[in-house]
Amino acid sequence: MTRFLLPAGVFALLVTVLFIGVQRAPEKTVIPSALIGKSAPAFVLPVLGSAEQFSAASMRGRWYVLNVWGTWCPECRNEHETLLEIARSRALPVIGLNWKDEDGAALEWLEQLGNPYDVVAVDREGRVAIDWGVYGAPETFLVDASGTVVYRHVGPLDPQTWSREFLGRLPRGAIGGGS
């Protein structure tokens, strides 16, 4: 009896482990961010379409969203409507990080599709994107009032993801930016 019990137990264990693995397969296609729970990388970059500079440090004390995009990225077009909705809801400030793009093309894109961003920082050389561990566009980060990265979403945003993963992580009173 015991000589069958042991292999059967091992087999059952194997089935359980593999089953959990298969169940969780979809979330494995997204690489988790190494920045969660850490300080958002500081940066100072030129503002799109202006001579000003934007410093991430100026967001201290407020929750905000950083959205990485480029006009060369088709999925960014797909999430644009959601970003516009977010902007209209005025839930959180949305900072755009225009990644390895042309200023002219980016300005034209915002003019044609509408501008959901409070400010767009231009990362033409992709250095800031590396500091944020960005590996594709679009990516969207949620940063809390202390400047800590709370969440990252990889791929186009949709309203469900927005309310579940972003709004769901906000403390009461954070909506509206608290300024």
């Binding site: 690489i31 988790p32 190494a34 050389e125 250095r127 994107a129 590396i130």
Partner: protein, 148 residues
């Protein structure tokens, strides 16, 4: 002569990364490092082999860190802080992946234990077999005959 030159020159010109650092020692470290960092976009290639833009940016980052005098470990750590363990083709041992490193060892120990048990059992059987062979016509009862 021209053919020989082409054989050498063409692969270099066609390489994904034609850049060479001036100092040979740095170039060697650069080559090794870029081969063991994963291109996060095309995940089964190293950043040395990938033509995508991000891989080029990461190579530039490695180059700049090398020229700034960082050690290989510091450069690996720099990448790991940003992209996580996944960017390293040879991930380091950490509390999070300890079970992954130790499971094979555990399985090997279980296997060895099982093998030892089987061998011991077989070894215990052997003398009985041997004695039966020696006296095929012996009328003495088997050693455990009286017990049953």
């Amino acid at each position: 002569m021209v053919v020989a030159w082409l054989l050498i020159a063409v692969p270099r010109a066609l390489a994904i990364d034609p850049i060479e650092l001036e100092e040979p020692a740095l170039q060697e470290r650069y080559r090794d490092l870029t081969h063991e960092l994963r291109c996060m976009q095309c995940q089964n290639q190293s950043i040395a082999d990938s033509p995508v833009g991000l891989a080029g940016d990461l190579r530039r980052e490695v180059r700049e860190l090398l020229l700034a005098g960082k050690t290989d470990a510091e450069i690996r750590n720099h990448m790991r802080e940003r992209y996580g363990d996944f960017i390293l083709f040879r991930p380091q041992f950490s509390s999070r992946n300890a079970w992954l490193w130790l499971t094979p060892l555990l399985l090997l120990l279980i296997g060895l234990g099982a093998a030892v048990r089987v061998i011991r059992r077989r070894a215990a059987l052997a003398p009985t077999d041997h004695s039966l062979h020696d006296e095929p016509s012996g009328d003495s009862a088997p050693p455990d005959g009286s017990a049953s």
